[in-house]
Subunit: 459 residues, 2 copies
């Protein structure tokens, strides 16, 4: 009897059928290959983390979005039986991974003795957020992070954005721009606009919404938070310098002028100049574009910040920057770090829309049919021989009508159907049919694999 159960994947999550897995795997294999070439190494951390590790790291809103894992057994029973008012914190002490940075900081503290001085790691794992699901926003989604830990040098920024540039190029995002700004340059612009230091985070948060709500919206938000009209206009004017600049160099010259006298601002400009000088000798050169309006909402960045933008697409394909005060949080000391997080789900959506996927392996190339029970041994031997030659081969399991088997082979996307009946067995041959052309030939059994490779164009 059918249980009337809801068999859809739970809200905000997805089943990945074979085609979905293959498209994801295509992207991830490029990411892994490029990152490995740059000397980044893979790290994986547990799905569950202690709540004390997670809480307080993502702001109040983030804390609310953490999935908590209910206590079990005796622990839970004693909480429920205590007769006291029960609070959320009594019910759980672990939660699901919320990002890949806090686990990295924990791993760095725990395993420091085993890790190299410059720890270059990539990590590709799902994270979970109890967000309201929306188009392209899921409760379980993958992050692809790459980070260099342990160096202050700006060559790290060049390495990270170069690896990223090669990923974008190999995936086919030749037109992607890596917008580049600097936390200190932003501070300088804010200072030079006459916005008081205590409103700096407010101003960055507002500026971060420029893409979404426009200059007018940002102006309104700034004024609502106590920034004067003149100061808000001054900031927006400076942030808009990018739009008119013809090159990174001319823009930096204009920005240098705009922040003159601000120590932070001048340091920001100097570091961006140095970074771009390095970048001229590296693959990131063709993608980096200075943009003083790039804010990135996160308050933990301490140096250069970047974000991938693709023409005609609102939002970004990922972002990152330098964050020198986070990785050491469990060690109680400053540990410099620069990293980037790619948004796998958005990349997949855009690649799908733009039809950017190359032909990906589908099911088996060859379907071996079962003509009759009596030739099953020969049929199994044929399947083995093809597989031994590296040909992906599916065996039709039932002795059904041949027409039905041919139809199934075609539906499944096999290129060839191969079979042995009593006639072929007695003649020492195998029948091979090219499904697209319906051309059928007989092959001598010992030569089958070679003939099939030839018909598959892999001779």
């Amino acid at each position: 009897m059918a249980q009337k159960l809801n068999t859809a994947p739970p809200k905000g999550s997805r089943d990945f059928l074979p085609g979905d897995v293959r498209r994801r795997e295509h992207v991830l294999s490029v990411v892994r290959r490029v990152y490995s070439r740059y000397g980044f190494e893979p790290l994986e951390t547990p799905t569950m983390e202690r709540l004390e590790t997670l809480l307080g790291k993502y702001g109040d809103e983030g804390d609310q979005l953490i999935f908590r894992v209910l206590h079990r057994g005796e622990t839970l029973r004693s909480v429920l039986a205590a007769g006291k008012t029960i609070e959320e914190r009594d019910l759980a002490d672990s939660g699901l991974r919320y990002d890949l940075t806090v686990p990295l900081a924990r791993v760095y503290a725990e395993h420091q003795a085993e890790l190299p001085r410059f720890f270059k790691r990539y990590q590709i794992q799902p994270v979970w957020r109890a967000d309201r699901p929306a188009k392209g926003r899921f409760r379980e989604f993958y992050q692809c992070d790459v980070d260099i830990i342990g160096s202050d040098s700006l060559v790290c920024e060049v390495e990270v954005t170069s690896a990223l540039s090669e990923v974008l190029d190999e995936l086919g995002f030749k037109d992607a721009v890596i917008r580049l700004n600097h936390r200190d340059l932003l501070s300088g612009l804010i200072e030079a606009s006459g916005i008081p230091k205590e409103l700096e985070i407010t101003a960055i948060t507002a500026l971060d919404k420029l893409d979404k709500i426009g200059a007018e919206g940002v102006q309104k938000e700034l004024e609502g938070r106590g920034v004067t009209t003149a100061a808000a206009q001054a900031l927006l004017q400076k942030a808009a310098l990018a739009a008119t600049a013809t090159s990174n160099d001319s823009l930096l010259a204009a920005l240098a002028e705009a922040v003159k006298g601000s120590t932070a601002g001048e340091k920001g400009v100097a570091e961006l100049r140095q970074l771009l000088a390095y970048a001229a000798s590296a693959p990131c050169r063709s993608h980096l574009k200075v943009d003083a309006s790039l804010a990135r909402g996160l308050s933990y960045y301490t140096g250069p910040i970047f974000e991938i933008q693709v023409p005609d697409l609102a939002g970004s394909l990922g972002g990152g920057g330098r964050y020198d005060n986070l990785i050491g949080m469990f060690l109680g000391r400053r540990v410099p770090a620069v990293g980037f997080s790619l948004g796998l789900e958005r990349i997949l959506v855009v690649m799908e829309e733009r039809k950017m996927f190359p032909p990906l392996d589908a099911g088996a190339e060859v379907m071996v049919l079962r003509v009759e029970e009596a030739t099953t041994p020969e049929t199994l031997k044929v399947a083995s021989a093809l597989r031994a030659a590296g040909i992906s081969t599916e065996l039709y399991p039932n002795v059904d009508k041949l027409g039905r088997q041919f139809q199934y082979a075609a539906e499944r996307g096999a290129k060839l159907a191969v079979f042995i009946g009593a006639r072929e067995r007695d003649a020492g041959t195998v029948a091979v049919k090219v499904l697209a052309t319906q051309q059928q030939s007989e092959q001598k059994q010992p030569e089958l694999a070679r003939a099939v490779l030839g018909l598959l164009g892999r001779g």
Copy 2:
């Protein structure tokens, strides 16, 4: 200030550092490659499932081991504020994936229209069980499942065990045995031993412990559950026939004798004979070994059952069989299926102990050093050129003393150190040092990649 936090991974879980990830990836890449060659396709399902999907599928003990995800926000607040006695079921409606079979059944019900008639899928994902952690037993661990859904034919058993045999061969487990038995043969043996039908599951559960507690232990357990001494002895005697048989054929002959008159038993013997006749033409032939004492505790098997055993190792590397009444559970009809679940963690432990891993990629092959600030552009170009030639290359980020950089390169396992100072730059050369021999040479810049490939033995 250091927060005194516990930075170890939570109980029963592990951090996988780069070497760990690479060893796991080595095993999984073999699994994926072989399964793909057989026409199996990848499936991935969400981490969380509805509790109504999970509960009641794994027995009472299993239900207790499911990690439940606490309600959040308004839902949780209203439960806590209701003023009623709170029970576990009020606090959660979803839990973490406990195995890969129930999600497969859910996916099969949900997406049937998109799935082929014979759905051959593999799935490699973590599962979570709130078990007491022990050596080799974790709360988060990977399962690697492979299943053929939709056919009653015994060639499916041959296909699954053949794919498995090729995985075992490619990993280096040439001595692994796939023990083979049949649920109906077991029923027949139990019947022929004079054990009443209603004690069949009890008898199978007891027999399943033969490896662990020995014949005496099983005898004791059977008697404790109401089986007569004579019947228990009769069953153990029949189960022990395997030990004296010289071949699968002679054993099946003896077993056929032992179950004569039992319909189930005779059917079991007939199917095993058919399966072995097929297997003679397939890669599983060298691994399959009939063993009437193999019980596998799970009550859901309906036909042949198998389990991988490696000499000198208690327990198995995985098991499976035919289970025709499970995949259709959400559809309310019988859907035939046969599958196998590989135990990744045990495979890794055994391969580690036996030193079965081939040399795996470690970090970068080449470390590019930074001699001085002035030659950073040339240094970056060298790193790019090497990477463009497919050579994994790490760039030492800081301008430290050269001795320190060489030492780091050696510690990190790089084979070559490559660098450009002012002298090399002016001469249009690059210095290349083989770290093992300390031999240093100069290479002309345009010929660097070729020279490095040569020194790496990849010319």
